[in-house]
Symmetry: C2
Subunit: 224 residues, 2 copies
């Protein structure tokens, strides 16, 4: 039973990511504790919102002493299942795929691309730290590395087909760089990243801001 089910990161979760990035930075600078006020200032979020978000994820602070950063970070790690490593497969070693396969920040966050796949046999001879396989080894790799999440970076035309195959072999979550809406069963999580849309939306905002001439005309965009 295939259908379109797009999940969108909830704003509160997006902000938790934001807080974490900020906390990591503060911690490296030697800071040990933060107040909702500090963290809010640093992330462009109101202190109320910070506390509400923490409340949603049952994160507790000290009534006067604020939040201890180390504690906050380890709570967040467990929220995000960052304790363990996560094995990922990447399908499509074109321009974007190759770049993603080298993207070091995934590794920094314990997300390891264990293998990549491409139909082009030429790509398979490419020198690369991560092996490039044909699609027929997909099942083997997914099983061996207990892979649950895949990156789809194939051309638009083959995205659905690849997705179907991934799901058939046990993939539960997909981040999709192809500009198509994938049809998947409702229990499968899909996160679409469309770089053209992102860039185009900046252009759109710039034009409409310029028209409104400095005056903050918050009509078609909202503040996170």
């Amino acid at each position: 039973m295939k259908q379109i089910t797009k999940y969108v990161i909830k704003n509160s979760l997006k902000r938790i990511f934001l807080y974490r990035a900020c906390l990591v930075r503060l911690r490296m600078m030697g800071v040990e504790r933060v107040f909702s006020y500090t963290l809010g200032n640093e992330t462009g979020v109101t202190p109320d919102q910070v506390r509400k978000d923490f409340s949603e994820f049952s994160i507790k602070g000290n009534k006067r002493g604020g939040y201890e950063i180390d504690e906050l970070l380890s709570t967040m790690e467990s929220i995000f299942h960052r304790n363990k490593d996560h094995n990922i497969v990447l399908v499509g070693m074109g321009n974007m795929g190759q770049s993603l396969s080298k993207y070091s920040r995934f590794v920094q966050r314990n997300m390891n691309i264990v293998a990549t796949f491409d139909i082009d046999p030429f790509k398979q001879k490419m020198r690369s730290d991560i092996p490039v396989y044909t699609m027929n080894r997909l099942k083997e790799i997914i099983d061996r590395f207990k892979v649950k999440v895949a990156i789809v970076a194939v051309p638009e035309i083959s995205a659905q087909e690849v997705t179907d195959e991934l799901i058939r072999h046990g993939i539960k979550g997909i981040i999709n760089f192809a500009p198509v809406l994938l049809k998947v069963p409702p229990e499968i999580v899909v996160n679409n990243v469309n770089l053209s849309d992102e860039l185009e939306s900046v252009i759109y905002y710039v034009h409409n801001l310029l028209k409104a001439d400095g005056q903050k005309n918050i009509e078609y965009y909202t503040r996170l």
Copy 2:
């Protein structure tokens, strides 16, 4: 007066992008008109929502006859200022920057990267369709091509510095791939794209969905 002002694409605008992508596909398949019901089905949005969104952007259809796709698309083009070309600069020719410089979908949508910049003189000798310059030619290029929007794909550490320089030379909108929150004046539009966060959120959802075991536990994510 620098501050953190993150703009997030409003959901209705995101959906307009979605509709457009879908309409382009339908048009290529020879379809000439759609109903809110059809379009909604195709995009995973309720028909009501489709009509509400169109209403927000003052897009009109024909009572009973639905919407003519060509007309819809041309209305959207003018909403998105797609009539004219848009010149973009890209700063940072590392892994991600190189990939973005070759990203053909930007060109397909009239968004042209006219020049790229990198501090590394070695990168400047790289063979590439788009010229790679040193940062000191930034102003010249921005003025010559009337560039309003920039892509920031530099390492975290230099992102703020680069951003300041871009704004000083007249850039009004930035799409930022560095995982930092840029501090900018309120009239500047920043759109942050954080690929690690996007991937990590998929992992998060997958884990929490699996825990809920098939039952759609829509707690930390929402349907668009």
